[in-house]
Every structure is written in C-alpha cells, then in structure tokens.
Symmetry: C6
Subunit: 245 residues, 6 copies
Amino acid sequence: MNEAAILAAREDRKKVAQFDLIRSIEKVMLGPERKSHLLNKKEKEITAYHEAGHALVSSVLPYADPVHKISIISRGRAAGYTLKLPLEDTKMQSKNEFLDDIAVSLGGYVAEKEIFGDVTTGPSNDLQVLSALARDMVTRYGMSDVIGTIAMEGDGGRAMFGRGVVDREYSEAMSAKIDGEVKRIIDEAYAKALAIITDQRKVLDAIAVRLIEKETIEREDFELLLIANGITPKAKKDIEHQPVV
Amino acid sequence: MNEAAILAAREDRKKVAQFDLIRSIEKVMLGPERKSHLLNKKEKEITAYHEAGHALVSSVLPYADPVHKISIISRGRAAGYTLKLPLEDTKMQSKNEFLDDIAVSLGGYVAEKEIFGDVTTGPSNDLQVLSALARDMVTRYGMSDVIGTIAMEGDGGRAMFGRGVVDREYSEAMSAKIDGEVKRIIDEAYAKALAIITDQRKVLDAIAVRLIEKETIEREDFELLLIANGITPKAKKDIEHQPVV
Amino acid sequence: MNEAAILAAREDRKKVAQFDLIRSIEKVMLGPERKSHLLNKKEKEITAYHEAGHALVSSVLPYADPVHKISIISRGRAAGYTLKLPLEDTKMQSKNEFLDDIAVSLGGYVAEKEIFGDVTTGPSNDLQVLSALARDMVTRYGMSDVIGTIAMEGDGGRAMFGRGVVDREYSEAMSAKIDGEVKRIIDEAYAKALAIITDQRKVLDAIAVRLIEKETIEREDFELLLIANGITPKAKKDIEHQPVV
Amino acid sequence: MNEAAILAAREDRKKVAQFDLIRSIEKVMLGPERKSHLLNKKEKEITAYHEAGHALVSSVLPYADPVHKISIISRGRAAGYTLKLPLEDTKMQSKNEFLDDIAVSLGGYVAEKEIFGDVTTGPSNDLQVLSALARDMVTRYGMSDVIGTIAMEGDGGRAMFGRGVVDREYSEAMSAKIDGEVKRIIDEAYAKALAIITDQRKVLDAIAVRLIEKETIEREDFELLLIANGITPKAKKDIEHQPVV
Amino acid sequence: MNEAAILAAREDRKKVAQFDLIRSIEKVMLGPERKSHLLNKKEKEITAYHEAGHALVSSVLPYADPVHKISIISRGRAAGYTLKLPLEDTKMQSKNEFLDDIAVSLGGYVAEKEIFGDVTTGPSNDLQVLSALARDMVTRYGMSDVIGTIAMEGDGGRAMFGRGVVDREYSEAMSAKIDGEVKRIIDEAYAKALAIITDQRKVLDAIAVRLIEKETIEREDFELLLIANGITPKAKKDIEHQPVV
Amino acid sequence: MNEAAILAAREDRKKVAQFDLIRSIEKVMLGPERKSHLLNKKEKEITAYHEAGHALVSSVLPYADPVHKISIISRGRAAGYTLKLPLEDTKMQSKNEFLDDIAVSLGGYVAEKEIFGDVTTGPSNDLQVLSALARDMVTRYGMSDVIGTIAMEGDGGRAMFGRGVVDREYSEAMSAKIDGEVKRIIDEAYAKALAIITDQRKVLDAIAVRLIEKETIEREDFELLLIANGITPKAKKDIEHQPVV
C-alpha cells in the first residue's frame, strides 16, 4: 500500500485508486517496466501465447483466481506476466485451489508447446513454483491419498541455521512414493490445462492476437473477450474494497 | 501462572480463578486475540467444522483429554482452537494416550474433508505434530511391535551443535520399516477419527452450528451439548485444584 | 567418594559407611530427591511395577549385578530407580554380562506391558541405553557371529571434531545385517525378560506391592522377599570393602 | 563493448567495427593469443579436425548459430576455437536450439574419433558444458517427456552459502530416470553429429585442411567453402547492427 | 631411542642395552606400569589366555614377527600386552605379512572364546586395528582379487581439513563387494588362528599358566617354552644391532 | 629449469645439459637421494623387479613414453623409480596413451606378484594414480562407450571451497555403471601388463639383475639391454632440444 501511496502522490492524485494499487503490485512483484528492452518478433509471439495460456486456463477453471491484467511488456526477468487477484481475502488455501493453480501455471508451457511445437526456457520459473507447490501438497498438507496425512518436514525445513544439513527422515522407498505422487499431480494438472487449450484454441488465439496488437489487456477488455467467446467471467469484485496484503 | 496473575491484576480480581488460568494458557500458547482479523464466511464454516472435529473425537475417545473450550476467534496463526486439559497432572504418557491424541489431531482434517469434500492448508500444523508423535512412538518409545524395543535416536537427535550432521545409524531397510509403521499408526488413527465423525455427524453439525453462532463454546455448554446428543462427558475435575505447568 | 564424604560430614559421622556411599551414588547419578513432586496413584503403580521388573530380572539372571536398593521416589527426571552394584570391581565386561544387562533393562518395559496392557514413555531412557549397548556388541566387540570380528567404527565415532561428519564406511547391505543382529539380540533379551516376569509373576507383584507401601526397598529387605519367594539372592559382598568408582 | 573500444583506440580507428568487436569477444572469452605456444604437428591436425567438427555440425543443423570464425591459434587453455554468434539477440532459448547446441558441442569429439580412431582430453570442457545443459533440460526446463514438467532444483542449486549442502529432494528412482533421460538426449545428439560428419566427410576434410594451412578461417571464407561443398550458409546479418552483450 | 637413553641414565648404566630399549618401547606405546591397578583373579586368567593367544599364533605363523615379551601387568588402558619385533627393519609390508598379522590380532579373541566360552570387551582395540588393516588391503593395496588393483581412497582419506566431508566415490554395489572381501579376509584369518589354538591347546595353557604365575615372560623363557612344546622359535637376531624406529 | 640451472651452477658448468635436467626432475619430483637409508636384500630385490616391471611394459607398449632412467636408490618416500619422458612436448593426451599409462603403472605390481607370489604396500601410490586416471577417463573425458560422452563432474570437483560438499549428481545406478567401467579398464590394462611380463620374463630378469648390481640404469644402457633381448627401443630424441615443463 505504501508503494501505491507514493505512486499516487507523484501523480498528484488524492485517492489511492485501483489503478495505482495494481501498478504498485506490478512494480513490487516484477520490477519496473523495461520499455527499452524490446523482444524480437518471434519472442513477442511466444510470450503472447504463453501469457494467453495462463489467462485462458485461469478463466476456465473454477478454483483459480480471476485475471486482472495481461501484459507482454518485459518487467525484471519476466518477458510478460498475467496478474491474477483472488475474489476474497483468504487465510487458507484448499486442495482444489492448489490443483487449479498448478494447471494455470502450466498454461504457459502448454500453450508454447501446442502452438510452436517447441518449448523455451521461459516457463522455468513457473515449473519451479508449481513443483514446490505439488511437493508441499504431498509432504506438508496431507493432500495425497497415497501418502496420507503424514507431514514429512517441519517448518524449519531441511537446512538448519543456513549451514548444517538435516538428513531427510524418511526412507528411499517413501521418497520414491512421494516423487510418484508429485508427478501424478502435475501430470493430471497438465492434462487439464492441455484439454482447455485444445478445446478453446480459438479463444487462446484471440487473446494472443490482442496482446501482440496492444501489449496489455486490462480486466474489462479481457472479460469482454471471454464473453465474446462464450466464456462467462468470474464474479467481479471491486478490488478497492479489500486490502490485498 | 505468572501470566494469569497479571491478567487477574489488570481486571482487579483477587483470586487467580479458572477463568484467568484458561485465558492465560490461551494467550501464551496462541498469542492474543485478533478480533480485527475476521475470517470470511466460508473460512468461518471450515474453521468451525475443523474445531468441531477435534472436539468431538476428543470427547468420544477414552484416553483423550476432555475439552475445556472451543473457539473460532483467530489467535496468532491459528484460525481457531480447541483447548483440552488433562484430568490429572501426569509425568508419563502411554501408548493408548498417544494413539487417541493422534486421532484427535486428525479430527479437524477429517471433518473438513467429510463436510466440504476438500481440505485446506489449515491442518498443516496438526499433521506436523501428529507425524512427529507417531515417529517418536516407533523410534523412541518402543510402541511398535514390528520395530520392537529399539531406540533409533539419542536425545541429541540428528543435529550436533547445530552445525554438524549425524548420519542416521540404521539401514535403508530399517528406515522403510519405520516409515511403514508410522503410516500404519496414522492410518489407523485416521480410520478411528473418520468412524466417529461419520457416526456422530449430527453432533458434529451441532457443535459447528453453535460455534458459527457464538464463536466460542465453554466447557459447561459443550458438555450440555454432548449430553443432549447422548454422549457422556468425561469426569469433571476442578482445574483450580491442580497446577498445570 | 567425595560426595559420600561430604554427606557423612554433614551428618556428623566419622566413617564413610555403605549407607553414605549408596546415597552419594544416587545423588550423583539421579539428582536430589524430589519429595514435592508426587506421582499420582496410577503413576505410582506403573513406576512400582516398572522398577520391580528391573529388580526381578536382575535377581534371576546369572550375569546381572545384584540389586542394592529399589525406590519409587522421583529423582531428577526418573520416576523411580533400581540401584545395582557389581559384586567385584571389573575392568572388562563380557558378552554374557551384556546380554543379561539388556534383559534387565527391558524388565521395566515388559512389566508395564504385562501388568497394564499399555506402555508409557517411562522406559525411553532404558531403550536408548540398551539399543546403544546392543549396537556396540555387534559393531565394536565382535559379539555377533553373523557379523563376525569386524569393528565398524573407530574410537572417534562418526563425528569428527564435533563438527564434521564421517560417512559410515560400510555398505547398506552390511548396515541391514547389523540392524538385523541388533534386533535379534534385543528380541532374545526381551523373550528372556518376558519369561521371567511371566513365570515369577507372584514375586513381581510382591515387590511392586511392597514398593507402593514403603516407596523404597533396601537390599536386606529385598533379599528376604526373594527368599520368601524361593529365589536365592546373589552372594553378598560387603560394599564398603571395594571402591566403586 | 568496452574492450572493443579500447582495442579500436589502440589501433587509432574511430569506429568500433565488426572486426574489433569479434576480436574483443575472443579476448574476453578465451584470453589473449599465445603465438609462442605452438602445437606440434599431430596436435595441430587433431585441433583442426576438432574445430572443423564443431563448425560443420553448426552449419548443417537448423537451430544452431552460424559460424563467424574458426581458429587453431591457442588462446588461454583452449587449443583452438569456433566462434558462433546468434542471428538475433534473444532472451529465451528453446528445446530445439538446446538439442542442436549439444550436437554442435559433440562435433569436435566425434570428428577426432572418426578421423583418428582415438579421442583426446581436448573435448573435456565441451562435455562438461553439454552435460550440464542436457541435465538442465531435464531438471529445470521440462524438456523431457519422461520426466515431465517438474523442476527438480531451485535457483539456489544444491550448495547453500558455499558451505552447507542441500540434499537432493528426489528419490534414487527419480535420479536414475533423470540420468537415463540425460544420456538419451546426449546419445541422440551424438548420433546426429556422427551422421553429419560421416555424410559430409569431404567438407570436414576441406575445413580441416584449410585450417592447417591458414590457422584461421573468417566467416566469408567459411561460407564460400560451404557453398563450394553444396551447403547453403545461414542467412547473414550484419553483426554491427545488433549489440551482443 | 631418546626415551631409552633417559631410562638407562636413571639407572646409571652406560650402554643403552636391549633391556632399556624394550622398556622404552613399552612405555611410549603403552604408558607406565600400573602396579596399583590390580586385575581380579578372573580378569587375570582371561588376560593371560588373551595374551597367550596372541603369542602362540605369532610364533606359529611364518610371516608374523617373533615375540619379545608377554605381560599381564596393566599398562595404560591395556590389561596386558604382547611385544613383537620384526626380525629386520623394513620399509614395505606384504600381503602375506598382513594376513598373518590379522590372525595374530585375532589370537586373543579366539583364546578367550575357546577357553571361557565367552568374550569380553578386551579385544575391542584389536578388532579396530585388524579391521582397518583388512579394509586397507582391499581398498588401498590391491590385495583382493575380487576388487582388483583399484585404489578407492586417496591419501587424504575421507575427511578434508578435518571439517568437510568427501563423499565416497564408489557405488553401493562396490561398497558391498568391499565389505564382502573385508569379511572374507578376517574370517579366513579367524579360521587360521582357531586351528592353531585348537591344535596347540597344550602350549596355550602352558603360556597362560606361566603368565599367571610370573606376570611377565621374556623372550628367552618364551622360546624355551616353545621348544619344550615342539615349536621351533623364529631365527633370533640381536635387537641391539638394528634401530627400531 | 630453474632447479637444473642451480645444479649446473653448483658444479661450475656453463650449459644446462641433459644430465642436469634429468637430475633436477628427479629432485623436484622425488626429493633428494637418501643413500643412508639402505633397503635390505629382500627389499632391494622386490624394488628391482617392481621398477623393471614399469620399465619393460613402458618399452613394449606403443603409446607409452620411453624410459630415461631406472633406479633403486630410495628418494623421498619411494623405494625406487622409473623416469619416463615423452618424445615430444604435448598439450593433449589421448585414450590410447591413458590405457598404456595404466598398464605401465600396473607393471610394478604385476612383476612383484609374478616373481614373488606376494605383493607389498609398495605399489599403493601407483594404484591411487591409475585409479584416478581410469575414473577420469570414464567421468570427464568420454572415454568409455558404455557411459558415453557425459561429464559427471565439473572442474571444481566434489569439494567446494575445500570445506563444503557437493553431493554427486548422478544416481546409484549410474555410479555402479561407472565403477564397472573403471574396473574393466583397469582389468584390461592388467591383462596387457601381465602378458608382457610373462612373455618377456627373460628381459624382466635381465633388467632386475642389472639394477641389483648397479642400482641405476641410464637410458643408453637400458636401450642396449632391450636390443640385446630383441626389443626395439622407441625413437630417440635429444631431450635438450625440447623444454620439459
């Protein structure tokens, strides 16, 4: 909120409006815009389809957060980004939400692969985040029936004081089962993302084309685009009425 | 007791009553109340059923401690809590008590899953505690017949001076057996908790509904609610007559 | 001996008698008596049977040391204790002595389980000590025919300078064999302890009942109790004639 | 660019020409020329065929970068080198590009083995780089269908603060699958490089012979040589128009 | 030699005689005599047979060093000792010498077991030394045909700078083979020691009886005892003519 | 070269002749001569055959360096040594050269075993060096077809900053394959060395006998000895014309 207040002050506006808030989230999470760093034509296309993949899957899956903005203007290390915000402030996340989040994260990778028949290093951060999430589901939250309600790791994790090492407590046999469950969860989410992107190829193209044209799509535009393609946008909630941090 | 005395002093009462004692336990263990941090409606329902699950299983199992208070007012990181106190001050705990404790810990998870068909990150701390307990039963207390009366780890644990590492002494084969026993213990406790929650669904609903209404249920009310549903409360003992720490 | 001299001085006696010596051993090994920390009735019973188990097995097995005192007065972290002293000062211990020592250590656990059908956290220290002993038999003293006369670990153990780690030199296959032998040794000692406690249930009850009544049994009383039950006490030797440390 | 500017200044030229730019890249990446350190005749031949192998494979494979210069003048630790530059500045790399890069890296090894029936320590750095690349494809970029879209390692890698160790999180079973995929990727790239070097043996000889004669081949000469042997050079782009770093 | 000179000086003798030399070796290696620390009768017998076992096996096996002195006077941590000295100063040791050395080291353990049907903690240092020796034969000296002429470990061993750890380079499969070979070597040496002690039981008894009587046997006496029992002592060489360190 | 210049200066000669150069290499690599430390007769024989083994295998195998000097005068920790110098200064080594180097290193061990039917600790340094070399062939240089062109370890090796540890990246399955290949390479080199030593036993004896007589054999003498036994010495090149370091 601080960051948002500074931005509003600079531009001499009294109210920290939704506009400022979103801009401040973008800046804190992704770094300032890098207009000078232009993507070449091929990269722009790849990035557009990648972000369209995230946005489309997020719009279709019931437990995923609605999309507030999509952009292919580079920020920090990211070539583009899709900003999603939850409908309500929540303390807890559920298994169904995690499963849809993983599918949304895979949306970029799946779109690249389906459209270009090749994948780039672009999704590497997506994979890192979704893999950690899938592993946590299995080892911390009891969300795999095969493993059951066992927590494998304490809050302190595996590293102690940043220098020692705590050997994992469980056996190789258990470790292999965990790997199997993590893979199953990701593979099922992949199938879900793939089905959406294949079924709604027309919408994916529409989002990507719009992004290549305009570089950024705001929520209203995006929802019109969804409606035009027969997808009902998620219930809208005024972001100004709920603190995000 | 110190904390209790301070609270009593603040409110100008002479005697450190049971009321103060319980409030001080809550404050030391969970942190101060956070009335400003309101749960949304869905979270309130989930939390109510989660705590009702703990409370119901604790009330039915013979070796579990009786419930003194249930609350869905957030404290620290916990969305809600169920306060149990032993009938007598004890130095030792038994295998039967551990087994029931694990089932009680699973009560929250099981209730969430049965009622909502989904589970949240809420039980993560429960799982961590019950997993450590089940592992200690197997590796420190000789409470698994398959493993037998072998202690796998010394008091110093695996980390030495906070920086070195002591490789576990036992083989991968033994480690797999330990994992199997830990899982068996937890799965059996799960089945016990599930049976109670399924059989006494009506009582679970009653506790949850009351919690959503009132946010907090004290011992007397809780016991009346149990009796109304055909469950005999555990023998009551005046908490003022036995020091808790 | 120093400690014994201080105790004798305090009570104005000239000679460091056996009485002082035993009291000093108790104090150094277990900490001062904690009369204020009373066990509840149930715990008193469990502790009495636990100590009776140690004392009975120790009295029956030929290579175990004779019992000098049994007590259920809490000392330090121990709820009770059984004081055994060797008949002669020795530098070496033999395989037969180790095997009987392990059975004696299991006597407490076995008694708890047989009498109450449940086991407590009480024997945790016993298990830790006997497990380390059984492992040393196998990995340091060549006392397992399956493993043979190989020493697996040097004097420096696994930790080097308290901070590094020396990975065990032997294979997983050898480690599994070691675990198997450690388990076999402990399981056989368990069977030995169980047979004694089952066969001599009457004596066990007699010792436990006397302990609950008197809290402490000195050597003479204990030997009379054994004789009354048809067990010949071990050859008595005057403890004052041999230095213990 | 700095380095290039210094070189241009020294030779009193106003414009940082392509010539300077390439020389600066060579100097920064490989160290200064070492004219005094002459290779013996045999080594010169081996090095010529090794570099010819890289250059030929790079020229044939569609996703590899075009060759700008080949040299067998020793620089730093390298006996020779092949300078490749991408046609366009890019932020992302794709799976197809990685696969061709690995084949290009193997070109030197394959050429040595095919021509001399023996291999030297020369390719050791090539193998190190291509092995790390193949492993990253499998464990960071989701570029193996067998492993799927799982990231095995975070950005922080396995070493923490240069002194601790983070044990890999995955099982031995997963590790064996990863090794299998890494090997498969490298073996397939090997087959691709081998096919090119066998099929285009005449071109390989021509490049090597020219290198032994002249020690260095610049881009124009190299492309004429390719054309003379029926290979179409990749689309040329003026290097001065795109910043390299 | 320094230590020997000091001893000679103290006793006012001009020449550092063999007598002083042996006494100095004893003192440096074992610590000063501890006449005050008397073994009890049983321990004296065990120690006498233990040392007789070492001395007998050493006298029979062709590659073992001849015995110079046997004693059951405690020195440092050792209850007794057998002093052997090589016939010649050597820089190298051979496989046959190592094999006999291991059998000699086992002589004490075997004697204890054969005579008393029990084994003590006494041989623990013997086992440690012979196990390290057998492992070195396999992993450093190429003395196992199964493993072959591979050295598994460098001079720096497994620990680096006393604080890091160097993970063993070889596989679990190789580690199991190494363990198998180490065990085979020790088991074969055991059989050799056992055969000697069984076959020459009369000599063993004679040595042990003499030791119990006199506490120490010097070389001349020992050789007479061997001759009397039909064993030819090893060629005698005057120890004063060859420096030992 | 520095060291050689000093030696020449001491002896007042102007030119750093081949004689000085070789002496300086000996001194830097092996330490000064230790005339005082005499080997006993048996050790002299073993050492003579050991060095003769290295020299013979080196003279027969095509990719091994020619022998410049053989000596059984102790230097530093080595009982004797065989000085080989490459015919030409080279930057690269090939697989064929490594394979012959390993066989040459085994020549000493094989000779000891064949002649004396026993092996000593003497070859321990040879084994260490050849094992590291064979492992590098497999894990760094792509010289095993079974493993292929994968580099298993970076330049930094397994230890980081001399204190941390980098866990090997590859699986146990891969580790077992690597061990298998390392063993195969060494076993094949062993067979090669054994065949030479068996076939050329007469030459081996001749070299050893000469060494025992003279303690040192210079290149010219050695080559005459080879010729006399029907072996053609490698092409001679004047060592003064090529810098060695």
